[in-house]
C-alpha cells in the first residue's frame, strides 16, 4: 500500500468518525430535550393521564373533586389510611373511603379515586400489589432478579461483541452457531 493510499483511508475514517459523533451528539441532545419536555406535559385526565401523589403533595386543594391515581402503603385499616410519601412527612396520608376490599396493614396499594377535602379519597378502584414481590428487608426480590438479568445480558454483550479500536465500533465476534456467519466479522 502506498503512503498516499493509507493517508486517503485515514481521512475517510476520520470523516466517518466525525459524522458518527455528530449524529450521536444530535441524538443525545434530542433525547435530553424529550426528558425535559415530558416533565411539562400532563396531567391530562381526558387522555387517561391522571394526577398522582406528587401533584397532591405539591398542592392538595387544587385537586379536590378530581380523579387521581395514588400509590402508597396501607398504614391503618379501620379506617383505611394510606401513606403516599416519606414516613417523616405527616401530611402525605389519605383516608380511603368507599373501598370494596379490605387491605391489610403494610399492603402496597394503588388507588384510583376522587380527591375529597381533609386528606380523604373516595376510591373508584384499587389494586393491592403482590407482597411476594417485596422482601422483608424492604429491598424487593424484583431488584435482585433484575440485577441478575443485568449481569446475564452484560456477560452476553461482552461475549458476543468486541470493540474495534481502529474504527471505534462494536463488531460481532466470530459466530459459533453456524460458521457461515463469520462473514460479519470480515465485512
Amino acid at each position: 500500500m502506498s503512503q498516499q493510499d493509507s493517508k486517503g483511508i485515514g481521512a475517510s475514517r476520520r470523516r466517518s468518525l466525525i459524522a458518527r459523533l455528530a449524529v450521536l451528539i444530535i441524538l443525545i441532545a434530542l433525547l435530553t430535550g424529550h426528558l425535559i419536555w415530558f416533565n411539562t406535559v400532563g396531567p391530562n385526565p381526558a387522555m387517561g393521564d391522571y394526577p398522582g401523589g406528587g401533584h397532591l403533595a405539591a398542592d392538595y386543594e387544587q385537586y379536590i373533586g378530581e380523579r387521581v391515581v395514588v400509590n402508597g402503603e396501607v398504614i391503618d385499616t379501620n379506617p383505611v389510611v394510606v401513606r403516599y410519601g416519606p414516613a417523616d412527612d405527616p401530611k402525605l396520608f389519605l383516608t380511603v373511603t368507599e373501598l370494596s376490599i379490605q387491605p391489610e396493614r403494610g399492603d402496597p396499594i394503588s388507588i384510583f379515586g376522587i380527591v375529597r377535602p381533609d386528606h380523604t379519597i373516595e376510591a373508584i378502584n384499587v389494586v393491592i400489589h403482590d407482597r411476594r414481590g417485596l422482601s422483608e428487608y424492604g429491598l424487593s426480590h424484583t431488584w435482585a432478579v433484575s440485577f441478575l438479568a443485568g449481569i446475564w445480558v452484560l456477560g452476553r454483550i461482552l461475549n458476543h461483541w468486541r470493540l474495534n479500536t481502529h474504527e471505534l465500533t462494536l463488531r460481532p465476534r466470530a459466530e459459533t452457531w453456524l460458521e457461515t456467519r463469520r462473514e460479519d466479522d470480515n465485512a
Partner: protein, 162 residues
Amino acid sequence: MPDLLAHALIAYTLAMLLSWRYDWLTRPYVTVSMAGAFIPDMTKVRYILPSDQVKLLIGVPFDWDALHTGGPVLLCVLIGVTLVAPRQRKRVFALLLLGAASHLVADALLLTASGRSYAVFWPLTLYHPPTPGLYLSTQPEPTILAAVAALFVWLATQYHVG
C-alpha cells in the same frame, strides 16, 4: 412486567424464534434484542439520581419517566445503532427495536388502578391506552412463564440448528 429478567427473557424468546427464519440472526443479534429490552427501564436511573434532583441541577423541568415512552425509546435505539459498523446497522436497529417494543407492549398490559396504561406513543400523543390488566408489576408468575418459554425455544433451537 415485574422485572428486567422477564423482559430480557421475552426478548430472547422472540429473537430466537425469528432466528429460525432469518439466517443472519445469530447469537450476537439475540443479545442485541435483550439489550433493547433494557432501554425502557433506564427510567430506574431515578433511584440513583431522582428527577427532582436533576431539575435542581440543571434548572429546567426533567423527568426520567420519558424514557419509558415510544419516542425517547426510539432515540435510544438510534443511539445504539451509531455504535456499530455500517454493515450491522440495519440488523442492530431491528433487534434493539424488537427488544424495546416487546418491553413496552408487555408493560402496557399491566394491571393498574385506573385501567389505563401509560403514554406508549408519546410524543405523538399523551393518550394512555386502556390496559387489559393481565398481571401485576409485583407478581413473579409472568417471569416464570417467560423463563419456561425461553427454555423451550433454547431447546428447540439446539435441535433446529444441530
